[in-house]
Amino acid sequence: MKKLVLLLFSFSIFSLASAQTKISGKVTDGKAALPGVSIFIKDSYDGTTSNADGTYSFETTEKGEITVIATMVGFNKFEQKETANGTPIVLNINMKEQVSELKAVTINAGSFDAGDKKRATVLTPLDIVTTAGSAGDVSGALKTLPGTQQIGNQEGLFVRGGEGRETQTFIDGMLVRNPYNSSVPDIAQRGKFSPFLFKGTSFSSGGYSSLYGQGMSSALILESKDFPDRTETNFSLSDVFLGIGHNHYWEPKKLSMGFNLGYSNLQPYYGLIKQTGASFSKMPDDLTLDYNLRKKWGKSMIKFYGYGNNSHLGINRKDVINNTNSFGLQNNFAYGILTVNTLLSGTWSVNNGISYSYNLDKINIASVSDKGSLLNKADIHSQANFAQVRTVFTKYVSLLSTLRFGAEFQNDLERVKYTNQLLPYNKTNEYTDNYAAVFAEGEIYFSNRLAAKPGVRYEYSSIINKMNVAPRLSVAYKLNNTTQLSLAYGEFYQKPDRSYLLYKTSLGYEKATHYVVNYQRIANDRVLRLEAFYKKYQNLMLVQTTPGYPLLYSDSTNGGRGYAQGVELFFRDKKSLKNCDYWVSYSYLDTKRHSARYPKEGYGNFPDMIQPSYAATHVANIVFKQFFPKYMFGYGITYNYSSGWHYFNPYNASYSEDVTPDYHALGMNFNYLTRIKNAFTVFVVGVSNITGANPVYGYNYYAPGTKYEIHPIAKRFYFVGCFMSFGVDRRQQNVDDSLK
């Protein structure tokens, strides 16, 4: 009996001793120690977590063949078989990083992305509206980013030596014709679309994707929102604007619909605050209505957005010889876009889109001398009907790598009817262009560190009866966890502007070739970007002029050329100062062109190439915002600087001497968030040009020595507004949190 007990006892001792096998070692990611890794034996309770120095140690009671597993978020699972027999096991583990969206390099040379995607986020919709001086306009806020010019007398984004027309706007992949309110001489117009329509904004200042075309300089790619967050009704009231909107979301039906109706009129404002810049014969007014529908249908997401507006404006300006020049504009615009995004199978999806836009500008111009005699009177009806269909297939090759290809077709009717009331004389010029493109692009992640995006685009335009093939390539390499280097190259073609095509069609594409190098460091809510670029322009439109003779567009050729090169800096910091967010951007630009209306060779001392009037050498912006969560009060300050613009002085033979004074603009806004009964309410007060500087965008000439400054109509603008939203509003949770 005793023997047996002894035997049993010794047996249990033995089993105890043999049951414990110590496993220890160190976990690394190949280089550095990796803490927090879970190391355990498969199908057992035995395991531990690695320490701050990567070391670990635990004991197991398992015997025989065991499988040691190590797991960690963001890393591939590690598995190794070992034999447990009581002898300590030393196992050093090397964890391999997973190729993942979080860790992977981003292909971003030339582009600024904004949206919900947390990485590489530069500007969100809320950033746009709270940027002082942007006046809630998408392009207004983008003008605080590097690469753009502070042009105040023409609409559009002037990017890296390019004209405004060289930047194209895309909504859900579809090109938008007339994205800005119609041009008025020497006055920049706002974009038509509200920043709150979009969940993502990607602004490319060069080297953009082959999915897009017909913009020689830049692409503004806007991605519309999916379902609204909830049902809500909005009212807005300001010194220039009145608006009402409602969005309804039937969540179980996966259906949403909404509309916004807005009316703006400057009558009360200009009645109160007299303007010296110009007198209005018809106060600017604008009536807009938009409608949206979202429906999830099986594996498809259907989105429709319709927009229409009707605006009027009449302006009188006296010139130096006391003639009164009047300009009247009535604009009708209608736009509709329908997109269907369908998941075909696990790895395939297809995006189909169709859009149509109609734009009619009824312009009347007249010139009356100081003695009352009518010198000129004419009507111009300018019309554009633009239709587009587009299909893009996406194949998800692996977790991140994708292949996209597709085709698009555009039908564009452009018509200008000119009627001179005095002569009388009338003429209609019009053309129809059928444009087709096919494109393909791969986004290939070789690892978390290295990615490439090669692409190619083929285009054909019937009006000029020419095709082109444009290759594009971007490569990005991650130097370490916070820094990366990217390169981009691409060829970008654009059809001649309609002002040429209306008079001559035997023309070719204008072409720009981009080379971009980008360095980016993102760490702790701070972003630093440095970018250098070189851009070569070929086959630009050129009309040679001789002073004293009328300009003939029918003489235009593709004989123009030019270049642009420069360096840019962007720094944003949300961290260093509490409740503050600021960014600084600087652009240096060296650009010259021989294009557009260029004097005939041998005229005066005109150089071979000149710096265009819309391209300033130095541009800098400082945007600062602070929010006091305790008082729900915030303010923002924006300072824009631009060195002078070169301008054309027909009476100075040596062109380059004529440069406007430097441009400074200091704007400020204040906002206060509160709750009035059930409505979330925001009060906003904004003031532009606080210092009362006299911004000069250029000069118009009438006679030697008599130049006329081009400056904003309202030297300083005050904005006072109130926005109310009933129903629990999206801004509720976030305005505060976003500024934390």
Binding site: G36, S38, Y45, M632, D729, Q733, N734, K740
Partner: protein, 213 residues
């Protein structure tokens, strides 16, 4: 002698049978107790690993999955912004397993609500409304099952506590809800030592903050 041998074999046999559940209880007791004092990221990471390990072994028990989800969701508040969604996805997968093993459980819905709240942190601006709403819906669902569960009121009060006054939150609004939670905590009796009983520490801290003002 025979008796002893029989007894011994019976003992051996029963240990073999019960060892598993004993080990389970022992491990759970140990780590649930550790959870009561867990504060740092490392604490939660270690516990998350341990509960996941137990869960992988005890695939019919809902509590390891529940605690693994809870630890991952708690880790969010001390983690890199980039990791929030990964951790929340993991927590979601864990709590879904718990939910399938133990359907209609208020405690599980509380965790679901907390995961939704955690996801807001990635980008409060664009996510606040969507996930804030979802979080509220899970809490409502939990209330219909077990209104006496103090962690429902606690989670609701926490939301109010961190929401600014003008958005319908604030300490004034949070206080009565947290007081209600505190009352429920006083009378709350967990089904066992390893069943959910966390939260009173958090509740008392917030109430202290409310009373300061």
């Amino acid at each position: 002698m025979k008796k002893i041998v029989l007894l011994f074999t019976a003992f051996l046999f029963s240990t073999a049978l019960f060892a598993q559940s004993e080990r389970y209880m022992a491990a759970m007791n140990k780590f649930v107790a550790q959870l009561d004092t867990a504060r740092t990221k490392d604490d939660f990471q270690k516990l998350a690993n341990q509960f996941e390990l137990i869960a992988s072994k005890e695939q019919n028990q809902w509590l390891p999955y529940y605690y693994a989800a809870f630890c991952n969701a708690s880790l969010v508040y001390q983690s890199d912004k980039d990791l929030i969604d990964v951790l929340c996805d993991k927590a979601d997968a864990m709590i879904s397993k718990a939910d399938s093993l133990q359907p209609n459980n208020a405690e599980i819905y509380v965790i679901r609500a907390r995961i939704c709240s955690a996801r807001i942190m990635v980008n409060p601006m664009s996510r606040g409304a969507k996930f804030g709403k979802q979080s509220g819906e899970w809490l409502e669902k939990a209330k219909t099952i077990d209104p006496s569960c103090p962690r429902i009121a606690l989670t609701e009060g926490t939301g109010k506590f961190y929401t600014p006054k003008m958005f319908g939150g604030g300490k004034d609004k949070a206080k009565p809800i947290l007081e209600d939670a505190a009352k429920k905590f006083e009378v709350f009796k967990p089904a066992s030592t390893i069943h959910p009983h966390w939260g009173s520490r958090e509740c008392n801290w917030m109430l202290g903050q409310c009373n300061k003002e």
